[in-house]
Symmetry: C2
Subunit: 277 residues, 2 copies
């Protein structure tokens, strides 16, 4: 049963438009061949027929994930592997009762997945080693960058790192140390430049004459002291309200969608840029 018919209706034109933009940058070649490989199915049974790999991307709530996993489990073939687009909930919370649970794992892509290549693979305790390895190879084959999270942790790696940055950003904003715009600029015109092609460890490895250990000896204590004044706390409602209002002065609510399209266009060009490096 199709829950959101508008997605099926809009897919062909969205896909063609996106592929045309990507083709103009040389990121894909044969648009017709790609579209010919896409098949829209009216039922889950149709979609699962003879499927080697399923990317399950339903709403992220344990009960919703559990229900669809059991539905897939009942219909899937023995060879089928199921990756869930969960961005923080480990697979053990919703695949335990599946008959094929050794073929389920988390495969967490980043939005938009055709432009941001990383995908986090997180096995449940009962996921087959071979299942993990097969998905890793498959993701690499289709041009994604698979990273392996060796065992389950809430938020996995990506959102734990994002959360650490956001929690500090909200704490600084709350106490009025800087405007939202200036905190954003510190990343977008500062730290984020290196991070678009080097991770945080490589960054510090190159930032001291003797490499990572040298950097840690010089600055490790400073980072410990900075963290000591922080305690985990929810983002306060009044701070969220103030932050949202500051954003709305920069970008009105009605312009959000256009800005998202702009973001994706920039990501596409950035991907093109990185491929040329």
């Amino acid at each position: 049963m199709i829950h959101r018919p508008e997605v099926v209706k809009n897919f062909p034109s969205w896909a063609r438009q996106t592929l045309e933009k990507m083709c103009a940058l040389g990121l894909v070649e044969d648009i017709a061949a790609i579209l010919a490989r896409c098949m829209l199915c009216a039922t889950l049974a149709d979609a699962l027929q003879d499927a080697d790999y399923v990317q399950e991307s339903v709403f992220e709530r344990v009960d919703v994930k559990q229900a669809v996993s059991l539905e897939i489990d009942a219909l899937m073939e023995n060879k089928t592997i199921v990756g869930s687009s969960s961005s923080g909930i480990p697979a053990s919370q919703f695949t335990e009762k599946c008959r094929h649970r050794h073929h389920f794992l988390i495969a967490h892509p980043v939005n938009p997945p055709h432009l941001v290549p990383v995908v986090e693979l997180v096995p449940a305790p009962w996921t087959d080693t071979k299942t993990l390895e097969d998905v890793r190879l498959f993701m690499a084959q289709v041009g994604q960058i698979p990273v392996i999270v060796n065992r389950e942790i809430d938020g996995f790696i990506l959102n734990r790192l994002q959360g650490a940055l956001l929690n500090e950003a909200f704490a600084l904003y709350e106490k009025g140390y800087a405007s939202l715009q200036d905190i954003d600029a510190t990343i977008s015109h500062g730290l984020g430049l290196r991070w678009s092609f080097m991770g945080p460890f490589e960054t510090i490895d190159l930032n001291a004459p003797g490499g990572l250990a040298d950097y840690a000896a010089r600055l490790g204590n400073m980072y410990y002291e900075l963290a000591r004044v922080r305690q985990a706390k929810p983002w306060p409602q009044d701070v969220i309200k103030r932050a949202d209002e500051e954003r709305r002065q920069t970008l009105s609510r009605t312009d959000l969608a256009a800005r998202r399209t702009w973001r994706d266009d920039v990501l596409m060009q950035l991907l093109h840029f990185k491929q040329k490096l």
Copy 2:
């Protein structure tokens, strides 16, 4: 007195080489004119003569900063403004005794400053409002992106944000959730792409249909829960050792310098790419 004569000796060829690379990308125009504006002085008194602005960049330790600030203070003219390249120590810790302390502030650039535009401006309690405003205008005029840190805090904004990410990255690595390389890839092929042209607040503003407040309502609690399991602690010595060894397998110590040159070349091209956007 010149403490490091090799810097003076190497500067002209380094500057010419760097400017030639930048010129090839259209980032600067008249190399000869730029070089003609550079003057190397043998004494602090010579360097300070008739100076409007001083970028003090000595080793980052309170006693060293204090000594040079007092030396500058004794020689500077009344119009001169002094920005310190401190990356985490507030100016109040080393400028209190300066006669011209209202003309001192932090101006923290990011390495390499000719390729990473952000510069954090942090006034001490006694810095003149006009001094801050003058430096902000001056930095913007020379093509930097000044951000204002409204009042002093250890680590300012940039290194507090970097520290939050590093502390989480080290904690994940310590417990074996992923390899150093995979944690780095999560940023360099994931989160870092958007952060190279959008800050963390704009990122979440675009990541929920209704904007930032909507995102906070959906995911704020998750980020709180992720932070709750963390406590500030120093990076353990054995973890640093293990991380350094993993890095040295990827990049030998003797290749660090070449990789830094590569990083700067990529940053230069990224700057060129962003200017074209």
